[in-house]
Amino acid sequence: MSKRNLLATVAALSAFGLNAAQAESLKMGALATLEGAFTALGEDGMRGVQLAINEFGGTAGGREIELITGSSDASPDSAIRATRRLVEQDGVQILVGPLSGSEGLAVRDYAKTQPDVTFVNGSSAAQDTTLRDPSDNFFRFSTDGAQWMAGLGEYTLNEKGYESIAIIAEDYSFPYSLVFGFLEPYCRLGGQAKVEDRFWVPIGNKDYSSVIASLPDDVDALFVGLGGADAVNFLTQYEQAGGELPLVAGSITVDQTVLGSKGRTRDFVIGTPSASPISDTWDDPRWAAFVASYQAEFPDGFPSPSIFAHAYYVNTKAALLALDEVGGDLSDGGANYRTALSNLSFETPTGMVSLDARRNAIADIFLTEVIEGPDGNLVNDTVKVTSQVSQTFGLEYEEFLEYGVVGRDNPSCS
């Protein structure tokens, strides 16, 4: 009934010479993990979506944005169920999401069955989502896990002097990408990371005592690639077990979703180097403005926006900018809209972002170290900015494929 009313309104407005498209609202879906181990991450992702929409005053291309949210629990199945509901029941024409790596792979596969719907990534960062067998209607304006590690492998070996390292990370596609991005330069330059010193744990693991007990003592450092509640649990237990290895962290392990949590791990993580698509203390007006609007809008959010708020914000903003460009017109099944997205190049809080031929972002990456901020919160301090990191590390596409699919043993580091 309401649809009919809307049609009548539209018809009436057109009679007065207004463009029909201006009156009809546009349905946009947002999918994030609002359940499970990554709940805090998903909630912050949703804050990022809200920030971008508010920045546009709730309209883009002359059409009001009607936001519909969906929830998953980081498993590919739940992501597909929620995506199906948003696309097939709610009829969203643009979907922002999902959050986690293997979800991204699943949504990418689903995207191929819905050629008229445009999928813009949330924060999922598995390499293969856009590298191998990409989908024409899946766009990622946030970078992948291997890109996030730019500069960290070199820094760990050369500046920190850790010549051998053990690894603990979650056992799925995103940490594989992360570890690959870290180890590729680290091993190439002579660092040691034996395959038997890599520990892969399931998402949502609560008890790390057996892993902690079997960590080797003949390594110089420990690389931690865990996210959300998993990272908090591991760090707490490792500290309580008297762990002494210096840490090197994958982006999400020292993200605000972990640093901002209340716990005893505080002093323990100070000085941990990491690399990430954001840096909490980056001295740049664009970033400062983003942080200020986040803090003003969400007083009960984290002290500073997390990677997930940032990634969802950047992706939503891209979706809205392209809508402006086509005047909100998706009547051709979104073909023009997707062309506009492909050619988009815009300023984000962390610098310029543009897309490569497979619709994956080329963006700046930050090398960071955890410090105690002026107000007592733990933050990531900017050590160095690596500008315009591409998915293929600057190599030709074919050449990069020779590294092989990311996984537990890639690179083998021998």
């Binding site: 199945d77 597909i80 199906r84 509901r85 097939e88 596969d109 799925y172």
Partner: protein, 334 residues
């Protein structure tokens, strides 16, 4: 009988009233989840054995389809013809269910639950950690149902009717079994296993046979579920989902084979639409509260609620109310 004809007509006509989403994602999914829960109802309602591994049995069938048939993950995918795959999947599910039965039938009550829970948990971790065959966390994607000319089985209406056919066949089978010799013996074993053993019945064998039957039901639903999702991964056979099956059976009601389907419908609707009722941080609380309310108001599930309502209407007549007998008890069928 009349009410079943009305119900059948409604179910057959359902896709013409609603859109694709309600046909596929709500209708077909509820029918398939209901079928898995039906297999638990056979074991729990008639056999007195509450098993948490019915979803595992469905998952074994699903993984078999993805491994023996085609998938796009470059792991396994042996490419057998679909009818071989389906037969093998259901057979393997039935064998696995019989083995689970053989392990668990000598236990009672909470111990049966513990053993079957342990099986469900170990299968979950096994597929999550095994990469060469099950492809770990990511699982196997790109599983396609068979095509018959222009008829593509995953299109909403064809898939709905496939699910309806599966659900209907097993619904009638279970309904028939309730009054068949085997079903009566099973219910008698539920009520007094020692007496049945004294009468010369092989109690464990009957129970294992019940597990095998439930395995065929769950396995068939599992094949359809993997076609439905187009993929299978450890998340599909996780402990939380295994417990969802128990929730479905309990909120629907364990007494009658229609119960699991009612439970599944309520469950699927809540799972899909609770997020619209309340803000997105709290929707799981709503789901939990609904289940709590159902079980609190009626320990017999929604079926029991329905019966209570009917009794309340009848209570207007002056006839004294006889205490309702358990309809599944053996003496009722004499």
């Amino acid at each position: 009988m009349g009410k079943y004809i009305v119900l059948a007509a409604l179910l057959l006509a359902y896709p013409t009233f609603v859109g694709d989403f309600f046909t596929f994602q709500i209708g077909a999914y509820a029918l398939l989840l209901g079928t898995v829960a039906l297999s638990l109802q056979v074991l729990g309602g008639y056999g007195g054995m509450v098993s948490l591994s019915q979803l595992t049995v469905a998952g074994i069938a699903g993984y078999t389809v993805a491994i023996l048939g085609d998938n796009t993950t470059n792991v396994m995918g042996l490419g057998w013809p679909w009818w071989c795959v389906v037969t093998a999947a259901i057979a393997i599910a039935a064998i696995a269910a019989s083995l689970i039965g053989a392990i668990s039938v000598r236990t009672e009550g909470i111990y049966t639950i513990m053993i079957t829970l342990a099986i469900a948990v170990s299968f979950f971790y096994f597929v999550r950690q095994n990469y060469p065959v099950f492809n770990g966390f990511t699982g196997l994607a790109g599983v396609e149902p068979p095509r018959f000319g222009a008829l593509y089985l995953r299109d909403p209406a064809p898939f709905y009717y496939l699910s309806l056919a599966i659900a209907a066949v097993f619904f009638w089978a279970v309904r028939y079994e309730r009054h068949a010799t085997f079903g009566l013996a099973l219910q008698a074993i539920r009520d007094n296993p020692r007496r049945m053993a004294a009468l010369g019945y092989n109690v464990p064998l009957h129970r294992v046979a019940a597990h095998a039957l439930a395995g065929v039901i769950a396995g068939t639903a599992g094949v359809a579920l993997v076609w439905f999702n187009g993929r299978i991964s450890p998340g599909t056979v996780g402990v939380d989902v295994a417990i969802d099956i128990l929730i479905i059976a309990v909120i629907g009601g364990m007494r009658h084979p229609i119960g699991p389907f009612i439970g599944a419908l309520v469950f699927v609707l809540l799972e899909n639409f609770a997020i619209d009722l309340i803000d997105r941080e709290r929707f799981n609380t709503v789901i939990g509260l609904c289940f709590l309310a159902i079980v609190f108001l009626s320990p017999d599930g929604l079926l029991g609620l329905f019966d209570k309502a009917r009794q309340a209407v009848r209570a207007d007549t002056p006839k004294p109310q006889e205490p309702r007998k358990h309809p599944d008890k053996l003496h009722h069928n004499r």
